[in-house]
């Protein structure tokens, strides 16, 4: 059995509190959500987050912590479970806004890209071109499979 390192988890907890405060301030400014409305939901976020890190560190599967974290939130808010109404009361869009949780992530991400920004600028136009092919790929891939299966099922 693997062990969890107390110091790492204490750091993660501190960092989660800081991030939580930033998200709540952003939510107040951008989406008009009073911090007192968001704070319970944010505590749930931190608990689920630490649980996700623990699952990644303890289980032998190669799944990122974020995969566990999303899965925990997904399962707990399935309408079959009694936890769904309770959690959604504190984590709904009127308490913690989805877009608001994205802004700090991209701010940290932008700063971390600072380490590699010169290389990013070099391949910039190629990456934009590739992005459009990526969009075309997912659209055509899904459409072709859907066409085939719908035909097979006699639905079209």
């Amino acid at each position: 059995m693997k062990k969890l390192d107390a110091e790492t988890y204490l750091s993660r907890f501190k960092m989660l509190v800081i991030v939580g405060i930033i998200v709540m301030i952003g939510g107040r400014i951008g989406y008009g959500i009073p911090i007192t409305h968001a704070v319970v939901g944010m505590i749930f976020c931190i608990i689920i987050g630490l649980a996700g890190f623990a699952l990644r560190d303890l289980l032998p599967l190669k799944i990122p912590a974020i995969g566990y974290i999303m899965l925990i939130a997904l399962i707990l808010t399935m309408p079959y479970l009694a936890t769904a109404d309770f959690l959604l009361k504190y984590l709904g869009q009127s308490k913690i806004n989805f877009l608001g949780t994205c802004t700090p992530v991209l701010a940290y991400a932008g700063i971390s890209i600072g380490l590699t920004v010169i290389k990013l600028a070099k391949s910039g136009w190629k990456l934009i071109l590739v992005a459009f092919v990526v969009f075309l790929g997912t659209f055509l891939g899904s459409a072709i499979i859907a066409q085939f299966v719908l035909k097979l099922l006699g639905e079209i």
């Binding site: 309408p79 700090p104 992530v105 991400a109 600072g114 590739v130 990526v134 969009f135 997912t138 891939g141």
Partner: protein
């Protein structure tokens, strides 16, 4: 992996490092406040629209203030955001993804019954999302990109992929750069491009309902733009088109991250190792 954890532990340690932490977190807080004050802006362009979101301003603004960009011009800026703050930001991306991932889970959790009812056609077309790899990886290799290909083509690179690439490679890696190319392009221009695809898609001869399912790519703005255009072109089926697109979009929301973890990432790495030496014969692999 163990090496990475050691780095995270060293970097996020607060003892004797509060100064560094303060600079980074206060910079991020200031950026978040500015970006949220600017708010969401949306413009109609042709069949789609351009969406400007606070997260977009945040990534642009923070890239600009890093040492190799504006820090080169204004030396004083380096005293606040130096390369050391950039390093500390790497594990903080992963931490800050926690509220986002929880929110994402709570958005798709309530949709699980719809997905269970959706039927085999909906589930199977999810695998079509791997089309990004088959179509775009060879082209990215032809353009001379190296490991950037992995992040750029593994999926359409929405937030769940950000989490997976960030945790597997770090966003400061070549894979991370590739991811960001597709992510940013999609954020700014995705709705316009999908608006065009939805409108012109009918010329492919595929059935409107198959195209409607394809509109659900796992991004609300891209799905809205493409399905609205498609519904305009085929007005007699518009209700069904919008419903099919929305359902497929929800399904991608649930499966997207796991598709990347279990199929997309292994597949793109495998395909890269096979195709890279063949396509980039002249260029030496790094």
């Amino acid at each position: 992996m163990s090496e990475k954890k050691f780095i995270e532990k060293e970097l996020t340690r607060t003892k004797g490092r509060w100064n560094r932490h303060l600079k980074l977190h206060i910079t991020v807080l200031a950026v978040v406040i500015i970006c949220e004050l600017i708010g969401v802006h949306k413009f109609s362009v042709g069949p789609g629209f351009i969406v400007l979101l606070p997260l977009l301003y945040a990534v642009i603004l923070t890239i600009i203030i890093t040492p190799d960009v504006l820090g080169k011009v204004f030396k004083g800026l380096k005293r606040v955001v130096s390369m050391q703050e950039c390093e500390l930001a790497v594990p903080l991306v992963m931490i800050s993804l926690v509220p986002l991932a929880v929110k994402y889970g709570t958005l798709v959790g309530p949709a699980v019954p719809i997905i269970i009812k959706a039927g085999p056609a909906f589930v199977l077309q999810e695998f079509g999302n791997l089309g990004t790899i088959f179509l775009a990886l060879p082209i990215a290799l032809l353009l001379g990109l190296k490991r950037e290909c992995i992040g750029a083509t593994v999926s359409i690179c929405r937030e769940p992929t950000l989490a997976v690439i960030g945790e597997s490679y770090g966003l400061d890696s070549a894979e991370g750069r590739g991811f960001f190319g597709t992510y940013i392009t999609g954020t700014v221009l995705g709705a316009i491009f999908f608006g065009l695809l939805g409108g012109f898609g009918i010329a492919s001869g595929l059935h409107p309902l198959a195209l409607a399912m394809a509109c659900g790519v796992g991004s609300a703005s891209m799905m809205t733009a493409s399905s609205a255009s498609l519904a305009t072109v085929v007005p007699e089926m518009s209700d069904k088109i919008l419903a099919f697109a929305a359902t497929s979009n929800l399904l991608t929301g649930v499966t997207g991250m796991y598709m990347v973890i279990f199929i997309g990432l292994p597949l793109v790495n495998k395909l890269y190792s096979v195709l890279q030496p063949k396509i980039q014969k002249g260029g030496r692999a790094k």
